[in-house]
Symmetry: C2
């Protein structure tokens, strides 16, 4: 009896996700679901993305956490629109939560919506929220075995960001091994290696975001 229940939940989720997707498309908003382990640097990535694009593109943010408003307070300081979702225990966002959050945003003044999922390398894989693209972060101090050990989340992602490359000098981390393992799991995955803290190679990520948003507007 267990598998059908899970299947029904996912079906119900996808139906709401489709509604979210259409609501965002109607407003010409490009949406990205950002997933990672706790502490891989999702919030810092979003913060620098907002600041880099300031004056050019308006970013809206949905912050997903088990509890607390810690991350949304950081984002609010940038001046971007932000809504916090507290899942109250759940280890991932779902489309219904995001639907409620979208209602709180002024969509007419958003070009790109960044959705920060709950810090978890397992649970978020199965749940489409209505986004256009999924991005998974993996950070250097987590170790170079993460794609091997948690392949599902890499498989569903359109891009992987290897974050915190400023820490490479202080640890053993085989970045080529990580790249190869990601490509083995999903040959078409886009791979970035950058530091959200120092800004090193951050421009490649920004260009990708801008390019995909343009494609969506033209498509």
């Amino acid at each position: 009896m267990k598998v059908p229940i899970v299947a029904n939940i996912l079906k119900a989720n996808d139906s709401i996700a489709q509604q979210n997707h259409e609501a965002l498309r109607a407003k010409k908003i490009f949406a990205v679901n950002i997933m990672s382990s706790p502490g891989a640097g999702k919030t810092t990535l979003i913060e620098r993305t907002i600041n880099t694009l300031k004056g050019e593109l308006k970013i809206g943010v949905i912050e997903g956490d088990i509890q607390s408003t810690h991350d949304s307070e950081i984002i609010a300081k940038t001046g971007a629109q932000v809504v916090q979702i507290n899942t109250g225990g759940a280890c991932h966002l779902d489309a219904n939560m995001v639907s409620k959050a979208i209602e709180q945003l002024d969509l007419s003044s958003i070009d790109i919506l960044l959705i920060e999922n709950v810090g978890n390398l397992v649970c978020p894989s199965n749940f489409w929220l209505g986004e256009d693209k999924k991005v998974v972060l993996t950070s250097v101090p987590e170790g170079d075995d993460k794609p091997l050990k948690y392949p599902s989340i890499f498989l569903v992602s359109d891009a992987v960001i290897i974050n915190k490359i400023d820490l490479l000098p202080y640890m053993t981390y085989d970045i080529d091994k990580v790249r190869q393992e990601c490509l083995r799991i999903k040959p078409e995955i886009k791979i970035f290696q950058l530091s959200s803290k120092t800004g090193e190679r951050f421009d490649e990520w920004i260009e990708w975001l801008k390019e995909l948003r343009k494609e969506k507007l033209q498509g």
Copy 2:
């Protein structure tokens, strides 16, 4: 209808966990459930614990992962008995999985059983596996906001290990804030700050393990 189902699952789990607990007690084995985010350093902690106690206490290890035998291969090199559990997607170990793993171990030659849970800061909190103590690792590069954002796993833990303190010089991390937040969540929690990589302050963790094992044998 959802909450009762979850409650039944937890009740069934706890009943098997109790059997595991009794099987381990009969063999005078002290068991620890080690939980953390992916990449916080559980495997390195276990590896150094085995090597530090070599010749004094025999360690058995159960390795929990979504898939792969990556971690059990590392542990096997130490010469310790190790069994790998692949959860096939599940974001935590449960008592039934551990029960099956225990059957694969020669319990008569184990003094301490270390159970490495799936890398996840949310899901493992609710599942007792039959262990005597729960330990949560949080590593410096994950950032100093983890107890604030994931309090449940700290609340259920007997000890917290702040790992990778060798990286403190390279990042902003307020260790006093982390300690205070842990104590706010659970005043009686034991806090270690150490580096499993360099061995700095590792002796305090080893002494705690030995002391609690002795207490169990006497109790």
